[in-house]
Amino acid sequence: MEAPPVTMMPVTGGTINMMEYLLQGSVLDHSLESLIHRLRGLCDNMEPETFLDHEMVFLLKGQQASPFVLRARRSMDKTGAPWHLRYLGQPEMGDKNRHALVRNCVDIATSENLTDFLMEMGFRMDHEFVAKGHLFRKGIMKIMVYKIFRILMPGNTDSTEALSLSYLVELSVVAPAGQDMVSDDMRNFAEQLKPLVHLEKIDPKRLM
């Protein structure tokens, strides 16, 4: 990979400790169009972007109580795009002053032999799914509206089945640790999406 111009350098990277700030919500299928319309109006003026991704979740088990989890994602509709390897740390709810869930994250673009390599490292695939939806941006904020599909036959992404009759909506920002003020911007943006969708700080522990 040759060095891209400085302006195109990824924000994540180096040894900086990056955090993902996250708000989540969902809309029923029949409300999708109105939400997309609203987002088109609010977000940066860019070509509407759609994605179709296949994500595999890998576990590495040791003697520690909890296994190490890594996510490998590949685009199914853009050939030649790099694979995406993602590490997500334990989510922190924080207090009322921080308006988003925060978790440590490491994003890595990789070559396409990622799954083979993870297996060689001792990781084993736990589950997989297909995500299909729309992507919007507003400054450093990223808004994803997507549906999750169950894969009926392991490894075969051609036969899938929608998991629900709704779309997941995620508003996220990846920023260096300690920049909690980004969560204020996120809350303000989430306010503008009401009542189409209520984006909230959802504690994953509550769902278990």
Binding site: M1, E2, A3, P4, M9, P10, T12, G13, G14, T15, L60, K61, G62, Q63, Q64, F68, L85, Y87, G89, V106, D107, I108, A109, T110, S111, N113, L114, D116, F117, E120, M121, G122
Partner: protein, 208 residues
Amino acid sequence: MGVTCVSQMPVAEGKSVQQTVELLTRKLELLGAEKQGTFCVDCETYHTAASTMGSQGQAGKLMYVMHNSEYPLSCFALFENGPCLIADANFDVLMVKLKGFFQNAKANKIETRGTRYQYCDFLVKVGTVTMGPSARGISVEVEYGPCVVASDCWNLLLEFLQSFLGSHNPGAPAVFGNRHDGVYGPADTMAQYMELFNKIRKQQQVVD
């Protein structure tokens, strides 16, 4: 990116590593090669931590994480005779997160540094291989730019190598035979450096 051959140059009799490197670079300059800055290739060794060994049934596999100044934003992760993952440079950050599962054998860190020369279509890098504070050997890398099929230009590479390596005759790198499609890539260069570093590490164990 063309086809690259990496080989170890034996230290000239009665000379030190440094003196042999100087002899080589002087020869290159006399040939008319142009100095173009410096280069560095480094390699860190990771042990599968004892905790993961039992459950995964893999006995002490070694993983190498390497960098090459020719690809400053990339990181290469390799297993011996296994896949080579090409990733963003922040793969290093992930290795820090994985320290409970993979331990960095810091004493095994090895690197080669030296001068980069351009001679017509050839790129030549003569480096001093160091492990810790002391010089352990000499690496010679020659890249032939206009071709990506190793078998088509090996003879040409060999002829050029012999023009300044004297009596030392490097064999065809093992990776040349590995490619199914015959197209050479950066991962093949890193595999050659990994082999060279492993060879030098073993030689050092014999001497000590």
